[in-house]
Structures are given as C-alpha cells and as structure tokens.
Amino acid sequence: MRSTATVAGAPAATLEELLGDPYDAGNPCGHAAVLAADERREPLAAAERVLDGWRLNAEFVPVALGGRLDRVQDLITRLRPVFRRDPALGLGYGVTSFMAAANVWLAGNDLQRRRVADLLLRGERLSVAYHELAHGNDLMRNELAARPDGDRFVVSGRKEVINNASRAAGAVLFARTGDRPGRTHSLMLVETGSLPADRWEVLPRFRTGGMRGCLISGFAFDDCPVPATGLLGGLGEGPETALRSFQVSRCVTAGLGLGAVDAALACVLRFARGRHLYGRTVADIPHARDVLAGVFADLLAADCLVTTVARSLHLLPVHASRYAAAVKYLVPLLLEDAMRSLGVVLGARGYLREGEHAIFSKLTRDLPVLGIGHAGGTACQLTILPQLPGVARAAHSSAEAPAAVFRRGDPVPPLDLGALRMMGHGDDPLIGSLLAAADDRTSPDLRELAGIFRADLFDLARKIAALPPAERGVQASAPAFRLTERYALLLAASACLNTRRHHDGDPFLGGDDWLRAALSRLAVRLARANTSRPHSPEAHGRDMTAPLFTELLRRADAGLGFCADVEPVSRPLS
C-alpha cells in the first residue's frame, strides 16, 4: 500500500532496518544507547550518523529540487522509524529543518529555494526561528525587529527556544519589519555563517524535561546586518506565509507522534506477555487486553486522521487550515491518553529509567514536547473557531470530498503550498463525507455507531449557528471551545469511516473490526465533549476491541508495526 513513487537517490534499506533491533543491548542505536544519551542530555551520535548516511534531509526537499519530498504522508511514514526509536532523535536531528524550509518552498524565489535545497542536501541544518518567550503563540506581538536599510536589514532582538540554533547553517527568522497595519512582520532566510561575528550570538542552551538530547537554544542579534536577499516573499507577508507553512508542519508533527506510541505499545505488550500476575500473564487479563487493543484502535484512528489531513494538503488545500489545526489539536491528546492507559498496565516498571522497559518513561517525557511544540492545542482551537460556520453549512449540503482523499495508495498532485489558505473556504468536504459514509454502512451496528456522529453533527451545526461572532476569537467561552473539540472528533470519525469505505478488498483496512473499535472509542470521547447529553460507556458495548487484540498479537508475532499501513519493524517478536 506504500507509494511506489520513490525518487532517484532513495536508499535501498529502510531506516527501520538500519536502526536495528531496539532491544539489542549492544545496538549503538538501540534503547540502551538512546537512554544513555538522554541521561547525558546529548544527541545520539551513532543514530545521527545513520540518518546522515540515509540522507534523511532529502525527505525535506521537494523532488523538483532534487530531494525526495512528494506526498506529505510519505514524509511522515518514512520518519516513523526514527520517532519509534527516539522522538528526540527525530526532532533533534532535524524535523525543524523541514519546518523552516517549508517557508522557503512556499515563499522563496528560485535562488533561495536552490540555496536551501543545496544546504539541506549537503546534510546541513536550518533552524526555525519564530518563538519569543514573552509571546508564545501570539505571533503578531513578536518583537525581534529587522529594519530595512538599503540592500540589507538591520536585525535586533532575540529568538528563544530554537532547536539546533548552535549547529544550524542558518535560520528562517520571523521579524517585525514595519508598522503598516497588517503588514508588520516578514520572514527572512538568514545564513549565520556570513554574519559579522560581533553582531549576533547563539544563546545558552535551554534545558528541557523531555527531549533532553535536543540542542535547544536561541539567537540574539544586536544591530546585525542581514542581506535583503534573504527576504522570503514580500515585505509584511510573514504571517501569510507562516500560517500556510504551519498547516504542513502541524500535520507532520502530529503524525510523527504515532511512532512513539507504536513503540510504547510494543513495549507494554512485551511486558504483558512476559509478566506473570495472579497465576497467568498480564496479557491474559481482560482489562489489560482491553487497554492494549484500545490503544491500538486509537493509534489507527489517529493515523486515519493524520493521513486524511496529509492528503487533504494536496487535494483540498483551500480547506486544509482547519484540518491541520484539528489534527494537531486532537492527535496529541489521543496519544497522551494512550500513554496514560499504557502506564496503568505497565505499572511500576513504567516509572523506571533502567531495565527492559525504561524506554517507556522516556517516551512519556518526550511526547508532550511534540504536543506543545509548534502551536499547542489551544492555539489550534483558536484557528478552528472562526472557521466553524463552514462546518455548520456542510451539515446541510451534499458536498463530499473526492474518494482520492481517503485512498491511501493513490498518487496525489504535487504539494502546492501557495494554494493553502489562511482560512478554510466554503462547506467542509470532510464533514460532508462523514454524512455520506454514515449512510453507506450496511452492518446494523456500524450504522448505529455512525449514527451517533451524524446526530452529533446536526447538534453541533445548531450550536455553531447560534454562536455569536465574539465567541469565535480569543474571548471565546469554554462551551465555544468545546465545539472545536467535537469538530475534531467528527473529523476523525469521518477519516475512519471513509478510510474503511474506500479500502474494500484491503485485508485489514477493508474489514470492520478496526472501524468498530476506533469509532466506539471516538464516540465515548464525543459524548464527554458534549456535556448536554448523558452518556454511559455501557451504551457502546464492551467487546468492540476484542478482535483487535488478536490482530495486535498477530502483528507483534509477525514483526509488524501498529499503524494503519502494515510495515515491518525491527523489534524482536516477543
């Protein structure tokens, strides 16, 4: 089911193969080495060399510029082995290089695109320099200033909590460039090697609780001259560019977290099969099986949403803004809850930084960084809020997304970042597809499950229609925020239903077992988010997850991963 559209230069071996067995204590890229590097707060050098050799950076560079970036979904799945091994390796090596470069692919001129492509293909890094501590997600109050001065800008100010600032060849800098209302900020590409050494410096490292191996610091500029040729797009176009490139990076960041939970699930399943309690293995205890299969179901639901949104970036670019926000809002929540449930099964072993299961506590610390990094949940909800009316309209229209959005194996048109919009336009097609799929299911229990989402959509549409404009911005009340949560859950349900609907004949995704489990769990969340109606977990039946547990064991025994695309993993079979 993987795309066969590989590009010249793609290595023969997968990263999963190159990184080897994580549980092999002698593996320089295994869990033991990962944990030791984490203790030292260092990047894992051996694994970074593997990524160098695999030319990971080529994944960040569009095919047209000599790299391997084609479908966004492939970027996510090709990086999955890295995040399965060590999220700090993935972030630390350079996902931020991609976040920075996306701005260049979008707004840069040919020369800038060429330079950045060459730089990345040489194995160098770019920092993405938006963040200022005082302003968080509030971009428009960023203070770092770049004053136009002939053929250069004079930059003063600081960018803080910037990954790889100390070892990047350059940065994409979000700077205040003027006072014209609506045109105050611009993006610029800065190659730090060419700057006068006495006018800028790398800030001391910011130590973090999770992702301890990442080299996070920042930049300080003091009247530093920067060539005007670095300006990306027009003066004052920074926010437009940023809000488009964020759509890609939000989707990618959300999707990368799946690898970490895949690894955590494998870790706890291993524990459950080996640990004897009360005269049997933990994996024989119904509660433990339910938790493990439930996490598997949530992982599949998250994958469906991520992949659908990744494909929407290509196929439905005018709607992608709220999709990207929804995926970055919901998926980290699903993943964090999954870790919490797994932790209950793993018990005290999940609290140790040593021993066979120590990777679990590291993943527990690393994941929240991915959730907060590059726009936390609330910022994403604020992106969705003003776009809710398009959702309400879709509840009463027949506009449906094209089937290609859900057919994971299908090719997609090249990513056109310029086609992305800051705000979604028109009726929401994925919501339209939710209604179509809900009507389409033939088995009675799935019709009933789908009916829950359909009914919720109509209720949601009524509430959106009644929402005054003041409730669609930062002053929105808690009930208004809850509508964005319900929207994200409906989107996930649509992704699951339609993935199943458009994969007839697929041995796994074409079956109903996973769909039933995924939907029943999303329904419980939806009921919690809709506080105006009673809900009881009993209403959704209990054995939805049982068949999925069988599939989980089958995959573990066959050496396969736990995401929607069935792919081989290097972990030992039990």
Partner: protein
C-alpha cells in the same frame, strides 16, 4: 477578571471567618499550620527547605538528607507514631494535612520521610503493646523504617511473594529479595512480608520487623538504587537476605496473619497517600495561577481570557472534590473505621487520578514554560509532574484499587438499595463527626478495621438525606437553589451507577473491562457525596469565600457529574469566580484548600 469580592476571604468576617492573618492558628489543623510556619517560604533562598534545593537534588539524584534532618528536628516523625505508643499521632486528618504541607513543597521529601509511617503501620495495626512502644521510640529517635512488600517478579501479586522465613529454635531464618522498596537502603528497620508456609495462601504469609543492624555480615545486601522517572533523589532500592537470623520477637501479629495485616494497614496508608496528590495539586495550581496572572497573550492577561479562567476554575474544582473525599476519608478512619476498606480504595484511585489529569491540564496552560527547566517555575513544574506520577503506582495501583471495589460491588449495591428507602433518616453519628471539621475525633481503634464493608458507605447512604437537607436550606436561601437541584440530580446519577453495579456479574478471574470503568464512576459518587456532606457539616463554621452559597460544592459536583457523563442543565457553576479566588490565594500565599488558613509565603 478582577478578584471577585464574593469569594475573597477578605470579605467581612461573619462568625469569625478564618483567613485573616491573625497570629495564633485558629483553623482546624493547628499542627499542620505550625509545620507550615516552621517550613517557611520555599521560594526563598534561606531555610533548609527551598524549591531550588529540591530541584537541584532531583537533578543530581541526591537524597534530600538535610531537609529530612530538619523535619526530624521539628519532630515530624513523632506524628508517625500513635499517641498510645508514645508519639503525637492522634488525628489522621491532621496527619494528612501535615504530609500535604511537605508534599506541596517537594514530593521526594514527603515520600522519603513519610515512608516511615508505611513501614510502621503493620505494627500499629497488629503489633503488641511492647513492640509498638519500642518501635515508637525507635522512630522518634530518627530511625527510618521501610515496608518490604513487593518483589521483582511479582509486583502487586503479594501472594506470589518468595521471600521465605523458616522457623528456627528462637525465631526465623529469612531468605529472599524485596525490590522497589522505598528507603530499603537508608532504612535501618524493614517490615517485610515473608512466606511462612511453603504452600503460601492467604494464611501463609507473616510480617517480620527486621532490624538490619542486628544481622550478621553476609546475610544482608542492600541492592543498588533504582533510577526512576520522578522523585529521583528518593532511595528506591531493595534488600536481599540470605539466611538472615531474625528473633521470634520480630513477628508482627500472629504467624500467618501477614496478608490480613497488610490489607488493613493499606487502608490507612492508601488514605494518607491522598496527601501526596493534594500537595502536588496545591503546587501545580499555584504555579498555573501565578503564570495566568503574569502572562500576557493577545493583548490580555491570560487569566482574563474566558477559556483560561474557566480552565483554572475547573482545575480548582477537581482539586476540591479530591480534597473533600480525602478529608472525609481521613476522619472516617476514626469514626467509620469498618468502612475504610472501600473508602480507602476510592481515595487511592480517585485522588491521584484526578491530580494527574489536573497537572496535565495545568501543563497545557503553562505551555512551553512547563518544559523549560531553567526558566521561572519550569523546573518546579516539570519535576512535580514527574514526581506525582508515582502516587498512582505505589501502595496499590489503580487497577488493584478498582479491583478491590469491584469485589465489593454486591454489598455496596445492596447497601445503596436499602439506604434511600428511608431518605429522612438522620446520618449516623460517625458520619456527622467525620464531616464536621470542628468536631473532636474519637481515638482510632485499629481493631475495628475490617476486610469487608458490611453495610456499605455511610456517606453514600446519607446522600439522599443530605440532598433533601440542601433542598430545605434552598427554600430559605434561594442562592442555594442551583446547588440543591444539582445535589438531587447527583443523587439520581448515583442511583444509575449503583443499579449498574448490582447488574455486574462477579467473576474472580475474568473481570470484564467495563467493571473497572464502573468502579471509577462509583468513586466519583463517593467523592460527590463526601463533598455534599462536608459542605453541610461545616456551612456554619465557614460562610464566606468558597463556602458562600455553596460555590465550591456547585463546582465540585458539576465536575463529578461531568465525570459520570451526566448533563448538568441550568446555571454554569461559578468557574471564573473560582479562578479569581485561586489567583488571589496564589498571590497572598493562602492555602489552595477548602479549609481557610493563614497566609504562608510560597
């Protein structure tokens, strides 16, 4: 939003409202307030107990020895020893508040020091008077005691324990290993659960109070400190015994009574564990409130954004719901001792779980700051979240506690069914005393601890009566109408939960997963009922601030209803006002608690 006068403790005090910074402690927990004053301002640089030290010691994985020595000097260990055995422990609610005062500064210290109580509890429950007096003297002299229950391969499955004691002429010879034991290395005395019948079984285990300093060389080995996610400075290690000779006087209770004693002791320790969660929540709420107060986003103070204020209000409500349950449960140790088997499981499941969610939501409010160790409060927050995760894992984890409740479903459901038939029956005296914080507590009698709750939980049986009482009060005071209506709905919701419990099939081995969820809902019923009872029990003592018009009860019950999946029609609870109160408490250093208290710098 500005601090709402209606919820400020500065409001004119009717009936001697505590909260004014008057010198002598007037609150219900004078010893805890004395400890607070002794510990002083942890945000400062002076004094042995500072946040900065706690974070530094954690980073270096060093035991907080100097801080513990200061606690010894204060005499905290005396409070681990019951008064009848020579110590100062007379009230378990006060013990809860004292541990909480330590925990809100640092969980490593609270756990590392407080562990001695866990080590000793078996003796308080089943030991003879001479043994208890001797252990009391040992503890008061500053010797740490640890509790050796778990083994490497068996975790919470105590009946699978392999450490074995073989009878000798004058005692036992003990061989085996205990692992993941708090203070196993630092502790001089270990209370170990050992197999005394080769075939094991419920009567096959006993407890031995082993003094390591008396063991011959070569018979005892301390295992290396284990690296942990949180409380990195704590001494989590183990002990290996190889033919260690232990005198017969070391036996706690009778031979074969080990499991029963442990199960009774856990009823006390699981209840007290709430202090650790409450302390962590105190700390997290202060940090979140301080951040929301200072932080400006989108041109406004974060605390003024409605969503942020609502979130803070909800977090506080969750905290108060847990606090109400913990306070009622800790006092019930004295007055409803026979109910502790179910009540302690409720506390140990719900309070840590609520707190984990609370801390995770507070983290999202703090955003990137929560993860940056060197900035502002980041290091403190990041540490407290790691530390707090252990509370739901030790001393009986989430699954163990829910399972204990599931086993009691038939009796609990029967008691509920029989209870509401007499809604006007006054609550039993034991419950009245448990819920009135100004009522003196009778002495705790360990002999009344039981392994089954025969007549259910009084606090639940009394819920219909309490809802009725609220309704009566609301007739005279219309401001109480929303909370009275909510209490009636809550009672109906509890009825639904109990009906499902009655339907639950009992199966020792294959407990269906849904039963765990149901047990979790049951604990919310207990917590909500405790909140109602606590408000009614103290509404004449405290009439201002959070207590006025049932403000905190309205919010806490709404959160319990949310957890039960029950809609709450009618007025939104005063979450923004609660947030305003929280900000004010954080600014002035007053406790983030239902119990008004004096300001303590923090």
């Amino acid at each position: 939003m500005p601090p709402t006068p209606a919820l400020s403790h500065d409001a004119p005090a009717a009936g001697g409202v505590p909260g004014a910074p008057a010198a002598p402690a007037a609150g219900p927990f004078p010893l805890a307030e004395r400890l607070e004053r002794h510990l002083g301002d942890p945000a400062g640089t002076a004094g042995p107990f500072t946040y900065a030290d706690a974070v530094r010691l954690d980073e270096e994985s060093l035991f907080p020895a100097a801080i513990c020595a200061d606690l010894d000097e204060f005499g905290l260990a005396r409070h681990y020893v019951p008064a009848e055995h020579g110590g100062d422990l007379a009230r378990y609610d006060e013990a809860l508040q004292m541990t909480r005062a330590v925990a809100r500064r640092d969980l490593t210290v609270a756990i590392g020091h407080g562990k001695t109580y866990l080590g000793a509890v078996s003796v308080w429950v089943s030991g003879d008077a001479a043994q208890a007096a001797a252990l009391g003297a040992t503890i008061i002299s500053g010797v740490p005691v640890s509790w050796g229950l778990t083994e490497r391969d068996h975790g919470s499955d105590l009946l699978a324990g392999e450490m074995t004691a073989t009878a000798t002429e004058d005692g036992y010879r003990v061989t085996g290993e205990k692992w993941l034991i708090n203070n196993a290395t630092r502790g001089q005395v270990l209370c170990a659960l050992v197999r005394t019948r080769p075939e094991g079984g419920a009567r096959g285990f006993s407890l031995l109070l082993i003094d390591k300093s008396t063991l011959p060389e070569g018979t005892v080995t301390c295992l290396p400190k284990v690296a942990t996610l949180g409380i990195r400075g704590a001494d989590i290690s183990g002990l290996r015994l190889a033919g260690a000779p232990v005198p017969s006087g070391a036996l706690v209770g009778r031979e074969g009574g080990g499991i029963e004693t442990v199960l009774k002791g856990l009823q006390l320790t699981r209840t007290l564990c709430a202090a650790l969660s409450l302390g962590a929540a105190d700390h997290a709420l202060r940090l979140a409130a301080g951040f929301a107060d200072d932080r400006h986003l989108y041109g406004r103070r974060l605390a003024d954004l409605p969503y942020a204020a609502h979130t803070l209000g909800e977090l506080l409500a969750d905290h108060l719901l847990g606090e109400a349950l913990a306070l009622v449960a800790a006092r019930s140790i004295h007055t409803l001792t026979g109910e502790m088997t179910a009540l302690s499981a409720c506390v140990k499941y719900l309070v840590p779980t609520l707190t984990e969610t609370l801390v995770a939501r507070a983290r999202k409010l703090l955003g990137a700051r929560s993860l940056l160790l060197d900035l502002g409060v980041g290091g403190r927050f990041e540490k407290l979240e790691r530390d707090n995760r252990i509370v739901s894992l030790f001393d009986g984890n989430t699954v163990v506690n829910l399972h204990a409740l599931i086993n009691q479903f038939p009796g609990l459901a029967r008691a509920w069914r029989d209870g509401p038939q007499a809604p006007l029956e006054a609550p039993p005296e034991g419950l009245r005393v448990a819920c009135d914080l100004s009522a003196p507590l009778p002495r705790f009698e360990p002999g009344r601890l039981s392994l089954v709750t025969r007549r259910g939980l009084s606090v639940l049986r009394a819920l219909p009566h309490a809802a009725h009482e609220l309704d009566t009060l609301a007739r005279a005071t219309p401001a109480l109408r929303p909370v009275a209506d909510l209490a009636a709905r809550f009672t109906a919701a509890a009825d639904v939960v109990h009906a499902a419990m009655a339907r639950q099939e009992q199966s020792r081995m294959d407990v269906p997963p849904g039963a765990y969820e149901l047990a979790g809902r049951f604990t919310l019923c207990v917590a909500g009922a405790a909140a109602v009872a606590l408000w009614l029990g103290n509404r004449e003592t405290w009439t201002e601030g959070l207590w006025r018009d049932g403000a905190w009860l309205h919010a806490a019950l709404t959160r319990a209803m949310d957890g039960l999946g029950e809609p709450v029609p009618g007025d939104e609870p005063p979450f923004p006002e609660l947030a305003g109160w929280l900000l004010e408490q954080a600014r002035t250093g007053r406790p983030v608690s239902l119990v008004p208290g004096e300001a303590v710098p923090s």
